[in-house]
Every structure is written in structure tokens, then in C-alpha cells.
Amino acid sequence: MYSDKVMDHFNNPRNVGEIEEADGTGSVGNPDCGDIMKLTLSIEDNKIKDVKFKTFGCGAAIATSSMVTELVMGKNIDEAEDISNDTVAEALDGLPPVKMHCSNLAADALHAAIKDYKEKNN
């Protein structure tokens, strides 16, 4: 049901955890639908120096969280803002259709964290 890439990220998730005193924090999802993601960013000179995630959810939720951290590590904020949920799903060689809606929230968490960073620095 899941691609090899999804299973790889599920079994060996990258960048799990939480950055203490993060520059930006994004939390999305809700317990009713069964997926909650929390993403923390460390940002220096407009660049994402470090990123970590914690996720409550299914295999797809964990894999998309892991993948988004890999996609944005070292990127400029502008570049990171261009990443969409679809970008993440594509990078994982796709997700089962039923998961596209409910478990594909990682980019939303990223955008929420960037927004939080921008609000803090304005």
C-alpha cells in the first residue's frame, strides 16, 4: 500500500525531536482525524539551519513529516515556503489516495512554523 520511500522514512525517520528555544514552531492537525504534527525550526540568516518534527499519526503522517524536514534542511525561507503538501507526497513517490487529504499535513506544519518565525521577528 505504501511506496518503498514512505516505508523507509517510516522505519528510519529523519530529524525526529524538538529544537529547544526554536525560532519557529508550527503545530497542525487534530486528534479527531488522527494526525498531529509539530515542527520546530532553527533559522539563521534567513536559512533553515536545523529542523525537527514530532508526529502523532499513521505511517503516511510520519513519513511526510520526516520527508519535509529533509526537503527544507539548509534551504532559504523563500525556498521552503514554496514546498507544498503535493511536493512532499511526490518526493515520497506518492501516497495512497485516501491519505492525500488526512495525513499529508507536513508542509502545513512547515508553513505554520515559518509564519511563527516571521511573526516573532517583526
Binding site: Y2, M7, F10, N11, P13, V16, E18, E20, S27, G29, N30, P31, D32, C33, G34, D35, I36, M37, K38, F53, K54, T55, F56, G57, C58, G59, A60, A61, I62, V98, K99, H101, C102, S103
Partner: protein, 395 residues
């Protein structure tokens, strides 16, 4: 790595004895049981022999057995068939919130057809209140349909008392006994039940065959119209091989029940106690109620069920979950929600349902591999107490 199957409430393997009994009816004895010529005679006798075996298994007369394609069809026939037959007498049906979708969706459909349905609540242990049942009875109540045992939690309902209450009020009583059949003894001769559903593939017969017990004198309107099959109550040429398989499986279930019950009780207890000892922050769903001895439904706090299943699948262990992800919908299981469990706990539930071929060694392997999987998922969860600041969400 050997494959381990702990999902017998979903389906069971076909027993060798069952398969061997079926085989002739897929090969040389392919005739139509309705034919009067030579080709039909042997299949006809096979169907009637199977009917006797199913009847013996349920403690009834062979004429009280209708063969169908599935438990779902039996539920549809029992509920719709009775409702339409009695609609001049009344339009009220009583069921519970934790029925299988085969019953719940059938009741929902009948609501659109002008029937009124009361869905009884269950308590936090998954049990109904007989006081609630009595209070919800109206003069126009024509049917009570309450499952024998719940497929998700294994909670066994008080069908004897429900039957007595139904009889006192001259209300027809249907029970979906799909999960109970083959696990605990069912005796329609001592039970005030009028309609009772069983399914082949839950008791080591193949998929595609089920049966409905219809007590003599209970009138049903057919749901599947066609020829004169099943005494005009269910059209369609008989699934002879499937029916033979069901008959054989019922015979084996009767023969082996005591031995299998003891075995299943032992290994399921070992599994549940092993998990209780080694994994903190869990809930045994329905643990305070009488339960089928093969079913253990456990909620793991802070994590989601599908991710646990994927972790178990890496060890070739099969189980199931009440999480939305495995149901194909966005909602977690209606059964645990009805028991008052939170959405998180419902998403985080795993059902282990054991069967006759499971062993102590398989259970011990599960108890070894599960705790690290749970620990790993919790270390990734923003809901876990180890998290720097707990995430609070608005509903």
C-alpha cells in the same frame, strides 16, 4: 521469519478438512441442486446435509436455516425482511450504537424508509443497560437487533435476557452472532431468539457463505428475489461448495469447541497480561465486561494504531486497528467512541484476535517485539509527556 496471524475476527483460514469436503463440489459434482436429473441429486443432498450440520450446531431444525452469501446478507435479510413483513404492526426498531455496519447501515436505510430506530448507548466497558432497552420499547416496536458479541472488543451481550424481554413484549429478536459462532456455544433451543446471523469465513469456512436462523413461524419478506430456493426466502442458485464448507466448519466447531476455548483463553490471557506487564499507559477496551476469550482490544496512549500495525507488520505480525486510517474513513471506530473513549484513544487501539492455530511461542514473540515499537512511536509523538511543551488543540 514466520508469519503470525492475530486477526481472526477479520477472517479465518479455511481448515484442511473444510477444504477437502468442498472440493468435490467444485469439480465432479457441479450440478444444480434444483435439477431433478442425475447431476443435481448429489449436490442437493450435500446442501441438505450441510443444513443439518448447521442446524445441529445452532440447536434448531434444518428448515429453520437459510443459506446466504454472507453475514452481511443474513443481517440484511433478518432486519429488512422482518421490518417489511411487520410494517403494518409497527415501525420501531431497537438496536445498539456498537453493531457491525451490516446492522447499523441496514437500520439507517430503514430510517429513510419510514422506520424509527433507537440506538442504545453502551457504558465505558462497552455494555448495554437492560433498563435502557426496556424503556425504549414502544407499542409499535417490531424488532430488537443486538449483536451476540462485539467484533471489535469481544464484549458479549446478555442475549438471554434480551430475548426474554423481547418475548415478553412479543417483539422479534435478531442477533448478529457472526463473532460468537464457533467461539462460544450458541443454542437457539434455549434462547428466545427469532433470527440469528452467522458467517462462514469467521469460523474456518470460506468467504461467500453465511446463514440465517429463522425460527419457525417468523415471517420474512425476501431481500433477494428469484427462484424457489431456500423455501422461497432467498433466490439464487446455491453456493454448493461454500455451503458444504460451512456445514463442515460447524461440525468441526461443535466437535472442537471445548478444547479450542481452553487453548484460546490461555494464549489470549497470556498476550493481554504480557502487554499489561511490559507496556505502560494502555487501556484494555471492554476489559470490565464478559468478553470472547480470543479477543483483546488495547488502546495505546499517545500513538496512532496504523503506525503500530506497520511496526508489527515488519515482524510479519498481523493485527487490526480502530484508527481511521485502517477503516477507510476519517473517523475512528464508532465502537470505542460509543464507549466514551477519546478520539486519540480510539485511533490508538489495536485488536488482537487469536485463532486455533496460534501458539504460546507466537504470543511470546509479540510480547517481545511490541514494547520497542510502542516506545519508538511514543518518542516521536507530540502528545507524549516527554515532549517539551504539550501541544494543546482547539476542537
Amino acid at each position: 521469519m514466520d508469519k503470525i496471524y492475530f486477526d481472526h475476527n477479520a477472517t479465518t483460514p479455511v481448515l484442511d478438512e473444510v477444504f477437502d469436503a468442498m472440493l468435490p463440489y467444485l469439480k465432479e459434482e457441479w450440478g444444480n441442486p434444483s435439477s431433478i436429473h442425475w447431476a443435481g441429486r448429489v449436490p442437493k443432498k450435500a446442501v441438505e446435509d450441510a443444513r443439518e450440520k448447521v442446524a445441529a450446531f445452532l440447536g434448531c431444525s434444518p428448515v429453520e436455516i437459510i443459506f446466504t452469501s454472507s453475514g452481511t446478507e443474513s443481517d440484511n435479510l433478518g432486519i429488512k425482511g422482518l421490518a417489511y413483513a411487520k410494517k403494518k404492526k409497527g415501525n420501531h426498531i431497537i438496536t445498539t450504537k456498537v453493531e457491525h455496519p451490516a446492522v447499523l447501515k441496514t437500520c439507517k436505510y430503514l430510517e429513510k424508509e419510514g422506520f424509527e430506530v433507537t440506538y442504545l448507548n453502551v457504558d465505558e466497558e462497552g455494555m448495554i443497560d437492560l433498563g435502557d432497552l426496556k424503556e425504549s420499547i414502544r407499542p409499535e416496536t417490531i424488532l430488537i437487533t443486538v449483536m451476540y458479541a462485539n467484533n471489535e472488543t469481544g464484549v458479549i451481550f446478555p442475549v438471554e435476557e434480551i430475548g426474554r424481554i423481547a418475548k415478553e413484549h412479543k417483539i422479534t429478536f435478531h442477533t448478529d452472532a457472526v463473532q460468537a459462532a464457533g467461539k462460544i456455544p450458541i443454542d437457539t433451543s434455549s434462547l428466545d431468539v427469532d433470527l440469528l446471523t452467522i458467517s462462514g469465513h469467521k469460523l474456518y469456512a470460506p468467504k461467500g457463505v453465511g446463514a440465517l436462523f429463522v425460527r419457525r413461524g417468523t415471517r420474512l419478506v425476501p431481500v433477494i428475489h428469484g427462484g424457489h430456493h431456500e423455501r422461497n426466502r432467498r433466490g439464487g442458485t446455491e453456493n454448493v461448495a461454500g455451503i458444504v464448507g460451512l456445514g463442515t466448519a460447524c461440525e468441526i466447531a461443535t466437535r472442537d469447541m471445548e478444547k479450542e476455548r481452553a487453548h484460546l483463553e490461555k494464549i489470549t490471557k497470556r498476550l493481554e497480561n504480557g502487554i499489561i506487564e511490559r507496556v505502560p499507559d494502555i487501556h484494555i477496551n471492554g476489559g470490565g465486561s464478559p468478553r470472547l476469550m480470543n479477543t483483546s482490544n488495547i488502546s495505546f496512549e499517545f500513538i496512532e494504531g496504523e503506525s503500530i500495525l506497520l511496526g508489527l507488520d515488519m515482524h510479519q505480525i498481523a493485527a487490526s486497528s480502530g484508527s481511521a486510517c485502517t477503516s477507510g474513513s476519517l473517523e475512528p471506530t464508532h465502537v470505542l467512541l460509543a464507549m466514551g473513549k477519546t478520539a486519540e484513544l480510539s485511533h490508538g487501539s489495536i485488536r488482537f484476535s487469536l485463532g486455533r492455530t496460534n501458539t504460546v511461542d507466537e504470543v511470546d514473540l509479540l510480547i517481545d517485539v511490541l514494547p520497542p515499537i510502542v516506545e519508538r512511536m511514543r518518542s516521536m509523538s507530540p502528545l507524549y509527556a516527554g515532549s517539551n511543551e504539550p501541544v494543546v488543540f482547539k476542537r
